[in-house]
């Protein structure tokens, strides 16, 4: 179920809250949050490969805050161009870069500067030269039309009030036949108006 935003919802405030929370996740991931972070959570609850995560810098994986496992959907082909929307500190991005290999590319997009810096530093520490990180958000991807083989994302669409526009952006950048591998949350019950207006629930 996609959760739609009330028309008078304060989207600017939500954007600021999301940036503030995820800046804290980047800089102090051991702080108090109402969602899990880190590699032990990713392995135990989401089925990530422990050895693959161990091979990434802890500065990257400690800020992991995904809610599912897009890499479990299908393998990233060698040579693929992959875009990670809302790449955060780079866990899924660097895994994609490893799988795409030197003939492929992994491009991370994130609106939080602290997260982008973590992802870039992590790519450097891993010796990955096929990684780019760009500023942007899900509704305005700084990516050319039909230039991407695989779009991945993990725990980002639920933070975006305009989900139709974000998904339309995925369709715009993917080549025909390209795949979206999305990890996000789904809701099994109809939310009350009070919940829909609770910015803390949106921002988490």
């Amino acid at each position: 179920m996609a959760v739609m935003c009330p028309v008078d919802f304060d989207k600017a405030r939500l954007r600021a809250e999301v940036q503030a929370i995820y800046s804290r996740v980047a800089l102090a991931p051991d702080g108090a949050f109402h969602f899990h972070r880190g590699p032990a959570y990713a392995v135990a609850r989401l089925g990530y490969d422990e050895h693959e995560l161990d091979a990434l810098p802890l500065e990257v994986t400690s800020s992991f805050a995904g809610v599912a496992n897009p890499h479990a959907i299908a393998p990233i082909p060698a040579g693929a161009v992959v875009v990670d929307i809302g790449c955060g500190a780079g866990t899924d991005l660097l895994l994609a870069a490893r799988r795409a290999g030197p003939s492929g590319r992994a491009i991370g997009i994130d609106m939080t500067e602290a997260m982008r810096q973590r992802a870039l530093d992590g790519a450097g520490r891993c010796g990955l030269t096929n990684v780019e990180v760009r500023a942007g958000d899900a509704t305005r991807l700084p990516i050319d039309d039909q230039s991407v083989d695989v779009v991945i994302s993990n725990g980002v669409l639920n933070l975006v009030p305009d989900k139709e526009r974000a998904v339309a952006e995925m369709a715009r950048v993917l080549k025909p036949g390209g795949r979206a591998q999305i990890g996000d949350i789904v809701i099994g019950e109809v939310l009350s108006e009070e919940c829909l207006r609770d910015i803390d629930l949106w921002a988490g």
Partner: protein, 48 residues
């Protein structure tokens, strides 16, 4: 969410896995009440 992807021109849209990502967090009770879980969604961009 499946409907949003289908309307945007994706095919073969499917939820392929679910995860109890909020168990053990301070949002656990809210997640249980509204049956909120993490999910993998796969979709293919249509050829035309």
């Amino acid at each position: 969410m499946i409907d949003v992807f289908a309307s945007a021109g994706f095919t073969e849209v499917a939820i392929t896995a679910r995860f109890e990502c909020f168990e053990g967090t301070t949002k656990q009770s809210t997640a249980r009440r509204y049956r909120v879980v993490g999910a993998n969604l796969s979709a293919i961009r249509a050829q035309s």
